[in-house]
Symmetry: C2
Subunit: 417 residues, 2 copies
């Protein structure tokens, strides 16, 4: 585990660490940092710790996961192992966030780690974990504190994205894609992020000014009307957390997104890309919504996992997010399927089953859970994005009086802003 | 980080994992396990996770530390970094233990990691950490739950123990010493541990039956009378935690130990081996006690660190443990200095500055913190063992009526039991 073994330019990791801490988190002096990562990402973990301490962090606490330990549960665990989770750890994290700790996650996992495991066990384990994680996730979903996710080119992940290349070449290619999408291959990554954030802000300002009550998606087998929550607000790029710190939660990010109305989604949605959910690939999802709820669901592969997923709780069959990404976005243009939500959701328009972001409401509503609920904000243990956009996607914005405004045509923004 | 890179027989790690879980923890089905380890010890972490799941663990949560991240704080941290600690994590661990989670620690650290760092910073960081760790440490020190420490042959540690050998040979030698001391190089390690525990129990039963009120140590520059706490009890080897589970907290262990009276220690103690405290070597410690408290202290190297240590709080200058280990014990006979308390304290009679083990009292007192205090049990943020025994050590047991009974002569037990 030395830098010398890495088949890419490790100076890029130095830049990625700076971007994660400065742009991603906007870390303020005196903040604690909770840093979750797979152990394989240690070369980036170490650089982020150094960058955070330079930025004045009080304490940087890495919580490292290991795929072999994760698998040990499925290979050796007795029945009791699949309904339990480290409640104490997640409750502690929730407390850290309540005390204004920032949160950084490094995503590098093998997307197919749990492929072939008993779906009943993976589903029980996942539900136990989601339940235990709730006290921490709520504070992230409510945007109480500044948080960020960045990626690291893990070996198993790289082999999945580039199955035909030798391992080192696959890692090098994935590293190149991550560094490009994260804008650290430019001379001044921080300035690049400022310009990109300004472009995303112009889009959200236009959408907020138009005041659509619904979006109508067509193309690629989808014909779906997504009602928007009352008092919804479009967000994207840099955003101010409730602790007053402006951060970029996702690096990369290409999307603008808001909260659908949990009872006003109707029609058919067909996935434009596969979804990998906790290690299981789910292909060719197709669902029909009635009054906000999925009433028919199918998939050509992983259908059992998909049905279990939308059956997790009442809110899992309803939407918590709708997001717009042009087909010309750099991640989409790479033509790669990353098997990683952070990347694939930034390649295409998507919707998410489950929990909404209360932050995607005007302030007066966002601060009051009762008003979020009354406005149509969905609640669930899960939040799972899946892609419905592609080169054929047309979207109309529908105003409260029924007027239609072109938003997307053939996968691209229909208006200049 | 693959097993193939390890310069020792990894089958020994399988056996060590089984001994840690079965003998060390006595893990019961349904227990959660909190597993702390340096990331370098992953090959053992993974095997312990598997062994724990086989034994019916509900959830195994590794909390992995990394030396480069630890150093990043000292190299890049601003002033605020040295007075903070992950309170949320330790509080969470305390809650896990309150809910009957077991605790396993793998010790493999570089003993000199922090050598050369500013002693003011290391001392502040250590104090902040001890303060934050208190909610978790109390439950371990009070023996509320079953816990265990085992060792793993880390590279930097091995180089410190065998400075003249090439690195791989040093690791192989340290591995051999660890496997021998942990009794996993025998055909049936679990049976070996049962026999060893029976021998230690015979010693504690004799000491408890004698009912000494003090021990008088002489030899090697030491002339020290250690009064024993009222209601003290001698412990050693396997012991029953308050949750009813019998475990072996230390693997290896060769000591029998009890609680001194915090106000009744008088005379001079001279260290028989160096102490490495949080990365700083402290050589040739000599102290004088009056009424239980150190009133004069010196060391030929690391004196500032030693004085800061015994100045941590009021209890740090007083004793919390006295322990007896014959000079013929296998670890002593190896002739090695391990720079690791788990090993070196099992090579020689020792005393410990700071917190006492309330478990080293008869049950009626052990369960009541007020009675522990009234009996003379010491309290402190720290518990630091240092060695005073050697081949010249004589010990007399002093009974309440002043009668003297030989306990040790020339470093060995003076009585057959
Ligand atoms: Zn999204
Ligand atoms: Zn989403
Ligand atoms: Zn001891
Ligand atoms: Zn001790």
């Amino acid at each position: 585990m030395t830098d010398a073994d890495l088949p890419f330019d490790t100076k890029m990791l130095d830049k990625l660490a700076e971007v994660a801490v400065q742009v991603g988190l906007g870390l303020e002096p005196g903040q604690n940092l909770v840093l979750t990562a797979p152990v394989e990402a240690l070369p980036l973990v170490r650089r982020i710790a150094a960058a955070a301490y330079r930025a004045g962090a009080a304490n940087v606490t890495p919580i490292l996961s290991d795929e072999a330990v994760t698998l040990a549960r499925f290979e050796h665990g007795t029945d009791v192992a699949f309904d339990s989770a480290p409640d104490w750890l997640y409750k502690g994290m929730g407390e850290a966030f309540a005390n204004n700790a920032a949160r950084l996650a490094i995503s590098a996992d093998n997307p197919l780690l749990l492929k072939g495991q008993d779906p009943d066990k993976t589903s029980r384990a996942s539900k136990a974990n989601s339940t235990a994680y709730k006290p921490a996730l709520e504070k992230i979903a409510n945007f109480d504190i500044n948080w960020n996710i960045v990626s690291y080119p893990g070996r198993a992940w790289a082999k999945q994205v580039f199955p035909d290349l030798p391992e080192d070449e696959a890692v090098a290619k994935l590293a190149e894609a991550i560094f490009a999408a994260s804008r650290v291959d430019r001379a001044d990554p921080v300035a690049e992020w400022q310009a990109h954030n300004a472009r995303l802000r112009a889009r959200t300002e236009w959408l907020n000014a138009e005041g659509f009550s619904a979006l109508h998606f067509t193309g690629g087998g989808t014909d779906l009307t997504v009602g928007l929550a009352e008092g919804h607000e479009w967000k994207g790029g840099a955003s101010e957390a409730k602790n007053g710190i402006t951060c970029n939660p996702n690096i990369p990010t290409e999307e603008v997104f808001t909260t659908p109305h949990k009872d006003r989604v109707d029609g058919v949605a067909r996935a434009s890309k596969p979804l990998v959910y906790q290690g299981t690939p789910i292909e060719n999802i197709e669902v029909r919504f009635e009054n906000g709820r999925i009433v028919e669901a199918s998939a050509s592969e992983g259908e059992a996992t998909w049905k279990k997923l939308i059956d997790t709780d009442e809110g899992a069959a309803r939407l918590g997010e709708v997001a717009l990404v042009p087909h010309s976005s750099p991640i989409s243009q790479s033509g790669l399927l990353f098997f990683n939500t952070l990347y694939d959701e930034n390649a295409a328009c998507h919707i998410a089953q489950g929990q909404c972001y209360s932050d995607c409401f005007v302030d007066e509503i966002a601060s009051d859970p009762d008003k979020v609920k009354a406005g149509g904000g969905n609640a669930s243990l899960i939040h799972v994005d899946w892609m419905i956009g592609g080169p054929e996607t047309d979207i109309d914005g529908i105003k409260p009086d029924g007027t239609r405004v072109p938003v997307f045509r053939k996968g691209e923004w229909a208006q200049e802003v």
